[in-house]
């Protein structure tokens, strides 16, 4: 029964590097197909969640109306995801003549959206709220309309927090979409639950490796996008200026220098 650590890792590597596991066969769905299915659920849920939470968070933050919505969304986090997933499946799937894929897909996407909304909503709201009141005051004081203040000032300044909300939402989506394979639904979790059921541990652990890799890659991609989207004035990465300015220490030079000018 007990398998030593060393050969398990070898078996997992063998499982992962076997080309026949990557493509579909007559009996099994391959890694690529499951990966695409996994990414599809997550992307769909993330887009829906963004479409709900981003405008809502911006609106609540900008107008300071409807704070209770943020608190309510936060309270959702105490719900056990698996439980809600099973509950919704049991309610919804019978409506689709037994357990078809759609019958599982809809509750899964609902749960994923429920999961992704709170972090995006809370962070967007907090981002807009945290904008320095002086900055907001200056913006409207110089004649920006409400939407100009929101889109030209509050949104760009909130981006770091919004991104961290989106990143944490994306990670939770990938994790929970894995658990969704606990229902008979595609995705990388299939390998984990099938491997467990068939006592095929290399497959189970290989599935774990794939899920972890997808999560890390996704976070890396989002972090890279964030790097390019968020202004350097906010992130504090002024590296490029160093070449333009004769001496980078000038950045912290006291008043005296200008006074002389």
């Amino acid at each position: 029964m007990a398998t030593g650590g060393g050969d398990v890792i070898g078996d997992v590597v063998t499982w992962l590097t076997d080309p026949s596991h990557w493509t579909d066969t007559r009996f099994d769905t391959g890694i690529i197909t499951q990966l695409l299915a996994h990414v599809r659920f997550c992307a769909m849920a993330l887009l829906i969640a963004l479409a709900i939470a981003l405008p809502l968070g911006l609106f609540i933050g900008h107008t300071d109306r409807g704070r209770w919505l943020v608190a309510a969304a936060n309270a959702l986090r105490a719900l056990p995801t698996v439980g809600v997933l099973v509950l919704l499946t049991v309610i919804i799937s019978p409506q689709f003549q037994g357990r078809t894929d759609t019958g599982f897909l809809i509750p899964t996407v609902i749960v994923l959206v429920l999961l992704a909304v709170p972090p995006i909503l809370a962070n967007t709201f907090a981002g807009v709220q945290n904008v320095d009141p002086g900055v907001r005051d200056a913006a409207s004081g110089m004649g920006m309309t409400g939407s100009q203040v929101l889109f030209r000032v509050e949104l760009p300044i909130s981006l770091p927090l919004i991104f961290s909300g989106v990143r944490s939402a994306a990670l939770q989506l990938i994790a929970t979409a894995t658990v969704a394979s606990y229902l008979p639904l595609g995705g990388l979790g299939r390998f984990i639950y099938d491997g467990l059921a068939q006592q095929d541990y290399p497959q189970m652990i290989g599935g774990g490796v794939l899920v972890a890799a997808l999560a890390l890659l996704t976070d890396l991609v989002l972090a890279t996008v964030q790097r390019y989207v968020v202004s350097r004035g906010i992130t504090g990465r002024y590296a490029n200026e160093r070449t333009a300015v004769p001496d980078s220490r000038l950045a912290v030079l006291p008043e005296a220098e200008v006074a002389r000018g």
Partner: protein, 233 residues
């Protein structure tokens, strides 16, 4: 209550109370192991995170590597971490320690940053004043910096505990006996017709557990920081 009890086999969602009473000892066992799994890893995680956070704060060069490593660990989905822990640590594939270890790793990953941020929230003047008063570094850490960092650390603990309750339920789906089992049972009993009581019971108990543990952390925080109440009132 008596009316409900008369209708023993009902599958209505509201009959979870009765389901609980019918399977009381079994369900209490699940609740107990769920509680244990939610709490112990956070405590162990905090004990590991404290020195790590202290190092990250004290030696600035260690901050980026410590934060990236814990960041990567925190990124890995729970279910993947569960199945990856045994081969990495050389344990049996379904070792009873796999889930507690994975949960501890999570708690450490989350709490190291929290501890470092909490220590960073201690005003520089305070640290310098303590040093000037003659505190040695370790003494200063336990008597000055740590107490002041408690509110930030408590906020992190609340997140860790609440999310742990949900993650432990995930472990139920790979066969561990905890409240997650109620969902598996409910799912299996729902063919061909929906049978809600165990599912609803599981959700209710999980939420209750999360709320109770969260309140305990809040309470602990208040007990440990009496000076903040003095300011608040």
């Amino acid at each position: 209550m008596t009316v409900l009890a008369a209708d023993g086999a009902s599958s209505s969602p509201l009959h979870f109370v009765e389901y609980f009473l019918d399977h009381r000892s079994e369900d209490l066992g699940l609740l107990w192991s769920h509680t244990w799994l939610s709490v112990v890893p956070v405590i162990v995680g905090l004990l590991i995170a404290l020195p790590l956070g202290w190092v990250a704060r004290r030696h600035r060069w260690t901050y980026p590597p410590i934060m990236s490593i814990t960041g990567v660990l925190y990124t890995i989905p729970s279910i993947a971490l569960f199945v990856l822990v045994p081969p990495i640590l050389g344990l049996d594939t379904l070792d009873p320690l796999q889930v507690p270890i994975a949960l501890t790793v999570y708690s450490v990953a989350l709490l190291v940053r929290v501890v470092a941020d909490g220590l960073a929230s201690v005003p520089d003047e305070t640290v310098q004043a303590a040093t000037a008063l003659g505190f040695r570094p370790l003494e200063r850490f336990f008597k000055v910096e740590l107490p002041i960092a408690v509110p930030v650390i408590a906020a992190g603990l609340r997140v860790a505990v609440v999310s742990n309750v949900s993650i432990v339920a995930v472990a139920g789906t790979i066969g561990l006996s905890n409240l997650g089992q109620l969902f598996t049972q409910g799912f299996q009993l729902s063919t061909p017709d929906a049978y809600y009581p165990p599912i609803v019971l599981g959700i209710v108990l999980c939420v209750l557990l999360a709320v109770v543990l969260d309140s305990l952390v809040v309470l602990l925080n208040r007990l440990l920081t009496p000076w903040r109440r003095a300011v608040a009132t």
